[in-house]
Symmetry: C2
Subunit: 225 residues, 2 copies
Amino acid sequence: MRNAFNSDLSQMRANLVTMCRTVAESVREASEALFAQDLEKAERVILADQEIDEMQIAIDELAVELLARQHPVATDLRSVVSALRMSASLERMGDLAEHIALTTRRRYPEQVIAPCAQDTVRQMAALALRAVEDAAQVIETRDLKLAALVTTRDEELDALRQDVFKLLYAEENALSVQDAVDLTLIARFYERLGDHAVSLVRRIGFLVTGSTLDPHSPATEVEVI
Amino acid sequence: MRNAFNSDLSQMRANLVTMCRTVAESVREASEALFAQDLEKAERVILADQEIDEMQIAIDELAVELLARQHPVATDLRSVVSALRMSASLERMGDLAEHIALTTRRRYPEQVIAPCAQDTVRQMAALALRAVEDAAQVIETRDLKLAALVTTRDEELDALRQDVFKLLYAEENALSVQDAVDLTLIARFYERLGDHAVSLVRRIGFLVTGSTLDPHSPATEVEVI
């Protein structure tokens, strides 16, 4: 019984790692498509979201089966409940990558990101991708040092979002409304990707250290400015 | 045992209804503050988010206790898992109300919504509030007709978001970048509130009709345009 449970739990964790890596791949491709006005790549990201949604359903069904058959308690139960939460975050992260690709498709063949903001948004894209890749690593290895790094680095992402707002409002940039709208949304998508990655690694942290079930804390909330 | 379970399940449902009504109240106040540049009311919404976060933690702890003590299976198990999902949606909806209030505070004493978009955003605010109130009703009564209405009405909210984009891009409106940015974000927050309300009522629908665990479907996704 115990062995069956451990094997199911390992399977669930492996599925979460695979799902997180698939999301990272979508984020990478969505960013590449965004900066290269690559319509084909954007279409691939949009199609791949279906696959991510199916991964969530599979994880959730495994979790429900596991709860029904094995009646886990204490830490084991918290692991299963956390997996349900993490699959929901990952599904939403897939949507965010898809939203970036949809913006690229809508503006094609125009460039989405105005020249004045290219550097800043590229940095946001790189940090968001790294956060998702590191989150996969944390789910796999439970490396709490890396988890702490993901949380700290998210502050850089938030600072870059503030930089985007400065660029938006700088008169010398004279952005069109369309550029301003897209820049606002794309910056928000990357910021949300970072928030979700932080929420994933905090969940692992709380599982390992045995703190409260829900690591929701004001510190993970980001003001929209 | 069965009675204890039913009583816990009723308690959990009652907590979800209370949480959803509290979120509706925050949405109402956030919208009132937005349109009246009411700083005090905006501050109240920002403070109230803490309370909503605590409600989520309480629901999640009740769910975990229930799983640990009663080992529910089949429909009962799905109800508990759904409650976990719904509390996460509601927590996020509280954040969205807070984001609206934060925008009001940041722009104070200026008006956030440009005059040309006031009517459209007021309609969005009214529809989003109604969706959240109706969702509370659906959680309480499992009224599937009302659930279907919430889903249908969400299309109106999406159509209004498209109207906002037309307003943004209409040259005669000559919006400032700041007005464009805030209008983009506020419209997105109301749209997301509607999406979450749809996800709540679909979850109830799937519980009642016994369909798949996770009602994630492309139809509930809204393109970002």
